[in-house]
Symmetry: D2
Subunit: 326 residues, 4 copies
């Protein structure tokens, strides 16, 4: 499918991805994982939820851990430019026959709840409680020293359709994998905030969340996390890496919590603010797009993901691909 | 002076700073400095000019070295979102009685030439020749491994007025130094592209360019550059650093070429895309705003800068400040 | 087998490992690999040989590349404290019915040639030509910025016997893997110069050279090498890593040249000069001894090695081990 | 003065420097500084003393903090090869009319107490309590992640005489600063353990301890410490750095505790085990020997040091040197 031109004048202005709600079955274990080991900071905590932010974030939270009987992803959150963008978003989703609702969310202003056509729960807001800076309180840095949430990566049963939908919302393509045989897009990276991506889509049974990524200062922080996890009982939670992706040029590590929620720790992508930035095309037959240095990813990385609350799964019709993909 | 609210709907849309033209008296020496030592890549070279880009840039150039009898700064360049923004910019500058002209520039599309009220030569364009990516051609990385141009820092004789003018253009304040005694702004950092700054203003005889900054991957690249410069005849060109600024949280190094043009090598600022990002206020009496770790900057760093071609100098009336500032 | 007490008063005083001679079938290719890519410095070159040193070495060479029809390892070289140690070494090897000869070697003083009981060709010398320092000529640093040769790792058909033999020479054990079932030593790390090892032995068909290791400043240099190799045609020469060994705590990368000679790039072991340093015991059933972070090594890493010129191969009788070992 | 040949067969075998006793006036403050901030690990603590080790050390302690009314240095400790070396050391010091005594020290075996000719209190031992390894307990790493004690640096009123005395003990010279005018040695670096130094001497009023150094993994750990100290109330304790010494090629930071005891944080020297290693000569007129990158050290660094308990101060007769030295 030919790559669509970017929508440089979207109807409503999404600033960036904002937060994810992970439903977890053992909140205390998750606290040890995300707080004590990764190093996210608690901004609010009660019996059933923990709100977290990374070190340079001033919004109240970028991750919510919520106690649940079954693990799932509650919602993906996005921040818009101003309050009026929420109304424009409401109209935009309504026009596409997608469910919309104005909901109350703690620590957040007016919030629009909706779903994309595949059922991924989305919420948009313009204002969230702002907190004092902590990025120069170096005593608080722990674990991998996470600086900010960077992107969501999702399994999609029809990547071309996801690219078209999110592209219409104003997400701009930076890199993609083309399946030369079918002419279809195998995977795509799209951004709003000026990095390689806010959202990415990968061919597979979907919709599922492949991972949420956090940005860290240097590769050495990722090495520190590996040393820490492997000597404090989290060895089995290390899934893949460290390595460098061809796509995005990121130095990466993937870890999975005990509920199967995957986090990417990530540094070194590049700036993409130019509206005429040309998307980089990778061939599905080029293994370096995944790992520039050549090491294969484990099967789990290709197959496992987190389901979204309330979304039905659909298989991709591009199933006959080799395990090497995406 | 109270900090003005950000202009969230500027008349024309500046994407980012783009390029600087440095006029240099010994082009061969400058080649050795910027190309062989810093590691910028030549994209065009003729008898009188060298065009350079950093490793992740796809625009044709972010620095132009131009042979001249006297060193100066020829122009500061900015990229706008689309062609129509150039016409809107023309009207905006005209309405302020500032000179405008449509000029021809190699490798660039339609280009609007103007000056700010203090005479700083500015040019705006929407399209520049795009070049193939080289960010994964690791064989080409040299010197400090510069990734992209990051910002311009200028001496201004009236920082409050500069903040008001550039703020009206849509630059948003991220950090600033307040002079508690006079109530004036001593220095200010303003951005378009989502980092701490595209432009910054510091009180002093102006307009002069204090420095142009390039972004590098990690502090270790800066240490590598120091080792290289200090053992290849560039020891006297090291001016200040390495250190960390309180303001911007940047790990920095300042170097000066033989014409007095200053370059900052820089990493680790933070994301500023939120329209409701609160500017961070620093007191003029807090020395950690300059150097978090406490080491003083040399006198040259406070006093010396590059003049802009065709701009007359004006003293600041805030001259009675201690050398410790800005 | 119980671990023997260290020989704190060896008959002759070996200072450290010194150099390896690799016989290579395409000297020009090897030059591109070891010089242009790894970054070793040429100290002498003629039609059939290239002598190399790393950046902080002052001895004339730590690696010799020698043109040959068939790849093999010519010799492992060791430096002794003083000339008299060579005579003591001669007597020591003679007393064990091992072949000794005084040979001429370019750039080296009096040189004793011998073999260990399994046929590994060894040479000892007290003096080698000394070269001016280059460790502060930062312009010369390239590739992985190799600082010094660190150790030899060998496949041995009877590790306990190798440990006993090299231990008698004064090599002191720092870490080892014990096979709990047989009571045998599966692998052993032994040093003279105060790091984790100058020599190591791993159970397998032997004698073969598993790898020669070079020390580099930080893990980031290893990441740089991976980026360079994977984008300059050496992707297939990357074998394993990056990772951290449990044993030795080293951050490592393994690469293999086109003749199958393996090099480890290595940093972060620890100081071992104390004569009462207790060897660290690892169980053969603990996979973290190999990779602290859990990723498995590829089969090639366990099976492939370089033969020594003139040494016959013998299978280990500990063959029934799982591939996970050593 | 001509540099003396190294003593390759010293009477007794010193393995390495081992520990320092710092007498401090506010033990709780010192705990916060050395334990919580630097990251040394407590191995024993009582009302008046804290014993500390760094992360890869297995000996019981490398630093003792002892409560005192007046700050001073209690003793410099060294480990010898075996018990017999203590008797040989006793005879050696006795033969030079220096005081010797066998003393009891907690956690240590037989201990010889003596002084050098200038009164520096020294103690030698062969065995100290050995502790379990913690270098792979990554959860314990804090602050600058100190790995091991590296060296003592002392002010000496007659550096040539100190070099002769410690050289006779077997310390071997690696680098030195020559005063071309007087022919005297201005400063000298000497080792036993295979790095640039275990002890160093600098011209000045002596004997005083200039600093004790700890080795850390990479320059980034030093940057982390600077960030931490400058935001937790220790800004005034940062004295000099970060920078690179010409001599030793070390990346360094100097900090001083509230009692004036100075610690160097240090990485990247080089291996010096070769008995024929040629000392590197630096000229007193070359400022890069101190700081390769050119930044001057503050006056305090040249002038201040810790007195040794019971040692009388003597001025150097090389006092007319510029502040730039040593």
């Amino acid at each position: 499918m030919p790559i669509p031109a970017p929508n440089l004048h979207p109807t409503f202005n999404i600033v960036r991805l904002s937060h994810v709600e992970l439903r977890v079955t053992d909140l205390e274990w998750s606290r040890g994982f995300y707080v004590d080991t990764l190093g996210l900071q608690i901004t609010h905590e009660d019996h059933d939820t923990i709100y977290l932010r990374a070190m340079e974030e001033r919004g109240h939270h970028s991750m919510i851990l919520r106690r649940a009987d079954v693990p799932s992803v509650g919602v993906l959150g996005f921040k818009v430019w101003e309050d009026e963008d929420l109304d424009r978003a409401e109209a935009w989703f309504k026009a596409r026959d997608l469910p919309v609702a104005w909901i109350e969310r703690p620590f957040m202003g007016r919030t629009l709840r909706t779903r994309d056509p595949w059922g991924i729960p989305l919420e948009f807001y313009a204002t969230m409680d702002r907190l004092p800076t902590i990025h120069q309180q170096y005593k608080l840095y722990r674990g991998v020293k996470p600086l900010r949430i960077d992107h969501f990566n999702m399994f999609a049963s029809d990547v071309d359709a996801s690219v078209a939908f999110y592209g219409a919302m104003g997400f701009r393509l930076t890199e993609y994998t083309a399946d030369e045989i079918t002419g279809r897009t195998w995977a795509a990276w799209m951004h709003r905030k000026g990095g390689v991506h806010d959202v990415a889509f990968t061919n597979g049974t979907g919709p599922r969340l492949h991972h949420t990524a956090f940005w860290v200062p240097t590769p050495l922080n990722i090495i520190d996390l590996l040393d820490l996890m492997s000597t404090t009982g989290y060895l089995a939670n290390i899934e893949r890496g460290p390595g460098r992706h061809g796509i995005s040029n990121a130095f990466f590590l993937y870890i999975r919590d005990n509920d199967g929620h995957r986090t990417e720790i990530y540094c070194s992508d590049y700036q993409t603010v130019d509206p005429d930035l040309e998307p980089i095309r990778w061939s599905l037959t080029d293994p370096q797009r995944q790992t520039l240095w050549g090491a294969a990813a484990p099967r789990s990385w290709f197959e496992l993901g987190s389901t979204f609350d309330g979304a039905d799964l659909r298989d991709s019709d591009l199933k006959s691909q080799p395990i090497i993909a995406p």
